[in-house]
């Protein structure tokens, strides 16, 4: 615990491993670390597979390091649904920072062993925050729910898009418009970038009111999402992106002077922990002493129904 706070890399790496593996000790350490969190700026980077997220993160690391800020990166890739294994390759694009002691990059697989719930990312971010890293950059692939999860966690959310991938339409469908603070239209060395930017701006403008309502709870009031063209392989547009990030940070910090804004954030954070605690508890109950097997037997012989049984199981938790 002390070692983690003193930014001992080995101790931090081990704690992260415990969190990832769901080891019981992790929880009690997290409890103690909590009072040391709240200082880091947390930036989420999400978007479709191959949009250029990791290359962009690599560029951001370079810029933040030039400002003498320390950077931790949480890179999340999907686990294989078949084997449960994963190849975690985001680092490839960031290896030039491997020897920089002001940079800590950690890859995670989604795992999703708790019936699809990932969730430990929030704990990982807390650890980096408590360790005293100035910036925590969280890269996740945008598939359905994940973007929403990253946005609950991050102070600033960057959605990376590549032109000509039909991303704009998908953006509306997936509700990405509502979660992005900043859009990076990456690979704008390719055809169609200007069109993507135009369409995005148009859609943002049309949906202005809806977006601001949606974001009321999470976004600094009055913030309208920025759209920025980047070529992350060449470092183009990164200055503009850094400016937008700094502006959003300022807006966020201003918003934090409003107790209602902070309350909404704490509420969200708590509900996230609550949801995971409840689920883990319920899961281990069901897995314990054939409880789940008994449930299935009752369903099979027709002596009960899923609604009654689910309620009974939840009630049993309270008595444990």
């Amino acid at each position: 615990m002390e070692d983690v706070l003193n930014r001992d890399i080995r101790a931090g790496a081990r704690l992260l491993r415990w969190i990832d593996d769901g080891v019981g000790e992790a929880r009690s350490i997290l409890k103690q670390l909590y009072s040391h969190t709240g200082k880091a700026a947390i930036v989420g980077i999400t978007g479709n597979p191959g949009a250029g997220k990791s290359t962009l993160v690599d560029q951001l690391i370079t810029r933040y390091r030039a400002q003498k800020k320390t950077v931790a990166v949480v890179a999340v890739d999907p686990s294989s649904p078949f084997s449960g294994g994963a190849i975690l390759g985001d680092r490839i694009r960031m290896q030039e920072h491997a020897l920089d002691e002001g940079v800590f990059i950690r890859s995670f697989a989604t795992r999703g062993h708790l019936g699809g719930l990932t969730g430990t990312t929030a704990d990982v971010v807390h650890v980096f925050d408590a360790m005293g890293w100035d910036l925590v950059l969280v890269e996740t692939v945008g598939v359905g729910q994940d973007e929403v999860e990253v946005q609950r966690l991050a102070h600033t959310t960057v959605v990376v898009m590549a032109p000509g991938m039909g991303d704009e339409i998908q953006a509306i469908k997936a509700g990405i418009l509502e979660i992005a603070d900043i859009f990076a239209v990456n690979k704008s060395d390719r055809d169609g970038a200007d069109r993507t930017v135009r369409e995005l701006r148009l859609m943002l403008d049309m949906g202005k009111e809806a977006i601001q309502q949606q974001q009321e709870r999470v976004c600094p009031p009055g913030w309208m999402p920025r759209v920025i063209k980047t070529v992350s392989t060449k470092g183009e547009g990164i200055d503009e992106l850094m400016t937008a990030l700094a502006e959003h940070r300022k807006a966020y910090e201003n918003a934090c002077r409003d107790p209602n804004f902070v309350r909404a954030r704490l509420r969200r954070e708590f509900l996230d922990v609550f949801r995971r605690t409840l689920f883990t508890r319920g899961w281990s109950y069901l897995m314990h002493e054939d409880h789940l097997k008994e449930v299935v037997e009752k369903l099979q012989d027709g002596s009960s129904d899923p609604y009654t049984l689910a309620k009974q199981a939840v009630n049993a938790l309270g008595r444990l």
């Binding site: 890399i9 080995r10 790496a13 769901g22 294989s80 290896q95 491997a98 020897l99 281990s284 897995m287």
Partner: protein
């Protein structure tokens, strides 16, 4: 909490040669065996491999070296891990390695050595046998 320990392996490609096919095949088969594999790409120095292994909290490091520089690069990683107090990380490697070199590399702490043509099944069961999730 619900414990789910998984084996995490760093597959690295040190040295100057650009043949990473073997490394990629091994990475994929370990993934298919349910392990989490961190892959870092070409031209990694031993220092980079050591720093990466520690940050990523891996249980093992596997290196693929086709350039003949195994006698220098593999022990450098073992020594680097030792210097950082991470000697519990198991080191293994593959490449065109003469028998004489095998002996001395094993003495220097490279626990498993595989020559081209070794089946992926052999490598997977060796990892399962010799690497335990921390």
């Amino acid at each position: 909490m619900d414990e789910e320990r998984k084996i995490r392996v760093l597959i690295a490609k040190p040295g100057l040669d650009g043949h990473d096919r073997g490394a990629k095949v091994v990475a994929r088969s370990l993934r298919d065996a349910g392990m989490e594999v961190i892959y870092t790409g070409l031209h990694q120095t031993p220092e980079m491999i050591v720093a990466t292994a520690i940050q990523e909290g891996v249980d093992a490091v596997g290196m693929s070296i086709m350039s003949g520089a195994h006698n220098v690069l593999m022990p450098a990683v073992v020594d680097g891990l030792l210097a950082k107090g991470a000697e519990d990380i198991v080191v293994f490697g593959g490449g065109i390695i003469p028998d004489d070199d095998m002996e001395s590399l094993k003495k220097k702490g490279i626990k498993g050595l595989f020559t081209p043509g070794t089946s992926t099944e052999t490598i997977i069961s060796w990892v399962r046998e010799n690497v335990k999730p921390s």
